[in-house]
């Protein structure tokens, strides 16, 4: 079983059994052999949750820290804003795993990059990371691994079962956390 906010055409598994998530999307799955992937995290942050007991993994592609800036009545993907993404991802994990939320969830954060020398007020990457840490803290979950900041774009894939995360960047060797 898997869940995603994307339409079927956007999130159809590839032959390699990858579920590709776009900006603001949320996905969760526990099907063996599957991977959740999101491409091109700049200032956006990939929030990953992994339940080591059921092997369920979840991924949210978070773009901005606070939904209060959204235009009234304008719809947006569930994982777009950090203040909604954490609870939405936890709900997806609970639905897919069939188990209630637990503080045993393992969280990882990837992304939050920015332009060089950017002024704090426009530093969306740092704001995203800070907001996600705060919302995770409220749930009693502390990220066990992070690759954040710097001036690079990242593509992230997470495997069902192990929760192993592979990060790739144009012109660089892949990293695993």
């Amino acid at each position: 079983m898997q869940t995603s906010t994307r339409t079927a055409t956007k999130s159809s598994p590839t032959p390699q059994a990858e579920l590709i998530l776009g900006i603001g999307d949320i996905g969760a799955t526990k099907r063996p052999g599957r991977r959740l992937k999101t491409i091109g995290l700049g200032s956006c942050v990939g929030l990953i949750l992994h339940d080591p007991v059921t092997g369920t993994v979840g991924l949210a592609h978070v773009a901005l820290p606070d939904s209060s800036i959204s235009t009234k009545g304008k719809t947006y993907p569930k994982g777009y804003f950090a203040d909604r993404a954490v609870n939405e991802l936890v709900s997806a994990m609970v639905r897919v795993s069939g188990m209630p939320f637990s503080k045993r969830y393992v969280a990882k954060l990837i992304g939050g990059a920015n332009m060089k020398g950017i002024a704090n007020v426009y530093d969306i990457g740092t704001k995203n990371v800070s907001a996600l840490r705060g919302h995770l803290h409220h749930l009693g979950v502390v990220p066990v691994a992070e690759e954040i900041g710097s001036h690079i774009s990242r593509t992230v894939a997470v495997e069902v079962g192990t929760g192993c995360v592979v990060i790739t960047t144009p012109g660089q060797h892949p990293r695993t956390i």
């Binding site: 339409t7 055409t9 956007k10 776009g22 900006i23 603001g24 491409i39 091109g40 995290l41 700049g42 200032s43 956006c44 773009a63 901005l64 800036i69 959204s70 235009t71 304008k74 947006y76 993907p77 777009y80 992304g111 990059a113 920015n114 332009m115 060089k116 020398g117 950017i118 002024a119 007020v121 426009y122 969306i124 990457g125 001036h151 690079i152 774009s153 990242r154 144009p170 012109g171």
Partner: protein
């Protein structure tokens, strides 16, 4: 500016811009243009007209009456979408080129440029002087066009260029290009635009999109508009490869765009939603 001979040779070999794309850019640069001006340009290309009518009559738009004219297609789809469809088709050869020197696949340039163009159009409304959203859109679409030339000269050397920026030996990737191959993609982009006989505003803003304060005063608001739009696209992760985010965002843009941080994030959000909707429509 004295250009290295390799770049001059590549510029000489550059194919002309598709005639319709050129005329569309001319129309958009005129703040007083109307739908009929755009239709007149598109109607001369039979294949393009057939394409636009096919899309306008598709289930995605479900017109009550069959659409049989370009003017009606523009009215139904809107100038923004029509422009994107036309430019995607007419600039396919150049905008979908694989930028191997930047480690960017064949669709990266188009996606990055489209997102920048959408952001530039939104940001144009924040200019302190009367805005021209069509012009900002075109400048955004073409801002990185120099990379179709510089990419060929960067293969195998970008690793040390990235290190030079990371270690602050040079302030940004454009300066690293100047050091490595004698010209940046901005400088080459201006020359590409001049070769294609595009309006002065487009040529100049392309030249200064990473150094907008150096832009002549007349076009500086446009240069800052493209500068911020490009930054937003890179922050969204839609870059053109290894140089994504290896540039500064010049905070003096607030002198030319009335854009407090809240409006910055709102524009970032609105542009991304527009882009997402477009990608769905275009089947990406």
């Amino acid at each position: 500016m004295s250009l290295p001979s390799e770049i001059q040779d590549l510029l000489t070999e550059l194919e002309p811009l598709h005639q319709v794309a050129h005329q569309v850019m001319q129309v958009l640069s005129d703040p007083d243009h109307g739908i009929s001006d755009l239709a007149r340009v598109l109607e001369v290309d039979a294949a393009l007209t057939v394409d636009l009518l096919r899309i306008a009559n598709s289930p995605a738009f479900s017109p009550r009456q069959p659409v049989t004219s370009v003017v009606r297609a523009i009215n139904l789809l809107g100038e923004k979408l029509i422009t994107i469809l036309v430019m995607r088709k007419c600039t396919k050869k150049v905008m979908h080129k694989e930028l191997t020197g930047y480690a960017a696949g064949s669709d990266r340039m188009w996606h990055h440029s489209l997102l920048t163009a959408l952001a530039a159009r939104e940001l144009a409304f924040f200019q302190s002087e009367p805005a021209n959203p069509g012009q900002a859109y075109t400048a955004g679409l073409l801002h990185d066009i120099g990379k179709i030339v510089t990419s060929d000269l960067l293969e195998g050397v970008t690793g040390k260029m990235v290190s030079a920026v990371d270690n602050d030996i040079v302030p940004n990737f454009a300066k690293a290009e100047e050091r490595e191959i004698g010209a940046s993609h901005c400088q080459v982009g201006e020359l590409v635009c001049r070769k294609w006989d595009l309006p002065e505003a487009i040529c100049t803003s392309v030249r200064y999109h990473h150094s907008p304060m150096e832009c002549p005063e007349t076009w500086r608001p446009l240069a800052f508009t493209v500068h911020v739009a490009d930054s937003m696209a890179m922050m969204s992760g839609e870059g053109t490869g290894v140089d994504c985010l290896l540039y500064e965002l010049d905070s003096r843009f607030t002198d030319y765009l009335d854009l407090p941080s809240g409006a910055f994030e709102q524009t970032y959000f609105q542009t991304q939603m527009q882009y997402r909707d477009l990608m769905e429509l275009l089947g990406h």
